[in-house]
Symmetry: C2
Subunit: 508 residues, 2 copies
């Protein structure tokens, strides 16, 4: 019985590893398209990707997978749900069921509407014309509800959508956590604004030559643990991180010669994603124990290095002299304290991707609340722009001037990515809670950073998070690592402790 | 009958196009491996390529292809052998037969021996130890004879090997052409050497900054017709050209800051290959009418742009002022005539890849004669080093100092590439004959080049060669384009006309 189950497991694993190999090849095709491909090669590249996608879809929904999983479920091999085998069986079953429950016609309708919707969105945004985009959004919402019904859910359709990105999470729990976050964050931001104090951000808008930004960013990324023997850094308009093999993870950034933070913190952010990818167990590549567990946990790794490490005072005690030597004309005579204040400015603004560490989460909460209402039919698409404006006024205290920089600013909804936004805020909350735990367990990270010691934190993350793969759900992982369920407490504490001395607000 | 044949043709074409899509993806994997891939990703990349190769091999030998071809052969659709359909049926049959005639065990033995042989060759070359390489070469020759026997041949086993790279050619014919070439070239080189005259090559060994070499080379490549909207130029140690789609052809080069010719003529050479690739009919991509016809013809296109255009006096009348402006410290005060003499130096030397336009062919002829003898069992591997030295003394008038720079200098034999070397010399002969025809038909290329006009030649090559795909054999193509079968006459005439004024040898 065990022997048969063992050979079934081998068959399943080989099949899944081969599928992962095709996916890794697809990732290279996509990476190349975005970084290196000659302009006229686009059409054929789309054909190549479509062809591979078809093969991959066929393999992911191959009935043999269902049979193998049935056999394995009946064997004692998979009894321990957190073992590699238990994890493989559980997560493969989840993936197989989610995929095979969708009728082919719905998959095709979603793909088509995603393409049409994104095209319409680009145009609508350029022309500030929400009405032109409205029917596409309505159709997409209709399809997403159909998708949720096909997959199945516990309480409400949004559960099925959220579960795609954050396995095991429920709308109810996430809504409670993010509502608590909003209740503490919105007043915090208001307190900062009320001080009228402004960070000296003009020092970040001086001349920062691209080649120096690149060498500095590359050097710091390597120091915190991104391996360039197993990765690359290139330039793209929209930065991203893409893994394409157990030892091949590539990140990108974009450089603004007159604004230091965009490339530097962008590199730290993508390097954080890359460090997670590089920390996965390579011998389990393509199988659940060697795969990232959720978008929220992935984002926690990028945010941890970008914000908790990269905007930390001790980090800059170590790196600021090197930054001054690299950018003498911009940073000569600038004091560390000024620079530190500048990179930690808090200022409500309209655009999510340019938002600071504190206000960013309010942008997310607005989108999360609105998309829940849309899926729940509590809000009509026709009323979305007004609802958007109302929430920006209420949570961030600002008025959206137009729809282009308002409800049309993100690509996500046009592409059908409902349930995706909350993972950004969950990432920040996980990051805070993980950082807190690491700080306690490693006896104070500030002291290490000031010495340029980043390896203890890296190894802690490797052991506690990266190497766990999908053996635990995100919620279980948070509980195991930090000893408590996810709450906003660590993030709020972190922000207040940082902002109190800078802005003179209360500390707790 | 026609309707059925038409639908059979559609099935075949779709199947072959999909296979070509997988091959184009494999080309991207290989290009990336050689240009961009992080060092530690190599092992998984090998797995990806092996996996794809397996899929491709299976498709190329799929029994359905044989059935489709049988059906089509019986239909009048393919009656015209030079039509697209006739060409597709004929060339697919050739490919299918060559592949299916090889037993799987022999394919695997050849692959294995190629890997082992190359590893042994690298080590043997480093250690100047021919004896260590000898058993690998003996085994490879044994396998190549087995391969030739399995494929079948007209007169002698070498025919089957040559035919792989130069379809339709016979050993007898190529041997006659290259013997005639040697008989005229060897005395020509001896005449040059006897003058004792030396070209002022030291001006090419000054400071040529890499970034300037790159921008200059890129600019010239674009001017002669290599499209960067459909291609790229990158850096690798071993330069190459690789197509990976109907609008995606990528070339590479390497820069030597202290030697101008290596990157510049390297770029022209690879751009020449690339221009052929970019000139193939894109709507026939992956099918025989849209594929290159032979290695010899491919090489003719690289050599034509590298040597016949790139080392032409009128070409430099146009580009030399720009070269001087780009490399002021190296070329200021240098006269065009000196520069032209320097890039056209003729000087017997030991290393094939560094040889000049004239002596290069003697290096090839030596290898061609030796490999024929090896396959024919007229020469034992044990006697190869001595035979090599004898021929270098006889044809080039120089003594090979050791085996590392002698019989061990090329990778080809270790990898099983027998029949490949002669295509280099055939390429030079085709180039001369094509250039001659274009010069006559376009009313003098020198006048055009001096004006910076390269498009007439480009369009002539597009029409007469690139767009013909595999509709004619290389020999038929030469006859159609130049009005006569391939002979050494055009190349010898070209060399004598160029070298007579430079070295003071007789002109014809």
């Amino acid at each position: 019985m065990i022997a048969t189950a063992k050979s079934t497991l081998d068959e399943l694993s080989t099949f899944v590893r081969e599928t992962a190999m095709l996916e890794s090849i697809q990732s290279l095709l996509e990476w190349d398209e975005r970084t290196k491909m000659p302009i006229q090669a686009g059409e054929y590249r789309a054909e190549q990707i479509t062809y591979l996608s078809g093969m991959i879809h066929q393999r992911r929904t191959d009935p043999r997978i269902g049979q193998w999983l049935d056999e394995l479920a009946a064997s004692p091999l998979a009894d321990d749900p957190h073992s590699d085998i238990g994890t493989t069986v559980r997560q493969m079953r989840r993936d197989y069921d989610r995929r095979t429950r969708l009728p082919q016609s719905l998959v095709e309708a979603l793909t088509r509407q995603s393409v049409l919707g994104q095209q319409a969105w680009v145009k609508a945004r350029e022309e500030n014309d929400f009405l032109a985009f409205r029917p596409h959004l309505e159709e997409m919402i209709r399809l997403k509800k159909e998708q949720a019904a096909a997959i199945g859910f516990r309480d409400q359709p949004y559960d099925a959508l959220l579960d795609e990105y954050e396995p095991g999470e429920s709308t109810e729990r996430v809504a409670a956590i993010l509502a608590a976050l909003r209740e503490q964050l919105s007043p915090l931001v208001a307190e900062v604004v009320a001080t009228g104090k402004r960070a000296p951000v003009e020092i970040l808008r001086r001349e920062f030559p691209t080649s120096s930004q690149e060498s500095f960013g590359r050097g710091v990324a390597a120091r915190i643990g991104f391996s360039f023997d197993r990765g690359r850094l290139d330039v793209t308009h929209h930065p991203f991180c893409s893994g394409m093999g157990p030892h091949d993870c590539r990140i990108t950034t974009r450089y603004d010669e007159r604004f230091f933070p965009s490339a530097f913190f962008g590199i730290l952010h993508e390097a954080g994603h890359g460090i997670y990818d590089q920390g996965l167990r390579s011998e389990q590549y393509g199988l659940p124990p060697g795969s990232y567990v959720s978008l929220g946990i992935h984002e926690s790794q990028s945010r941890l290095w970008e914000n908790f490490v990269g905007r930390n005072y001790s980090f800059w005690r170590h790196f600021f002299p090197q930054a001054q030597a690299t950018f003498p004309s911009a940073l000569e005579g600038v004091r560390l304290e000024e620079f530190y204040f500048a990179i930690n400015q808090v200022q409500p603004s309209l655009i999510r991707v340019e938002a600071d560490e504190a206000t960013y989460n309010l942008h997310i909460i607005i989108r999360f609340e609105l998309e829940q209402s849309l899926i729940r039919d509590d809000l009509l698409v026709a009323d979305l722009p007004t609802a958007w404006r109302d929430k920006y006024r209420e949570y961030l205290g600002i008025d959206a001037c137009d729809d282009a920089d308002g409800v049309l600013q993100d690509i996500h909804w046009s592409a059908g990515l409902f349930g995706y936004f909350p993972t950004y805020a969950l990432g920040n909350l996980y990051a805070a809670q993980f950082y807190d735990a690491a700080d306690r367990q490693l006896g104070g990270l500030d002291g290490l950073f000031a010495q340029g010691e980043f390896e203890p934190l890296l190894l802690w993350l490797r052991h506690n998070i990266h190497q766990q793969g999908q053996c635990y759900t995100p919620a279980e992982l948070a509980l195991r690592v930090s000893g408590q369920p996810l709450t906003p407490a660590a993030l709020i504490r972190h922000l207040r402790q940082k902002l109190a001395p800078l802005y003179g607000i209360r500390c707790g």
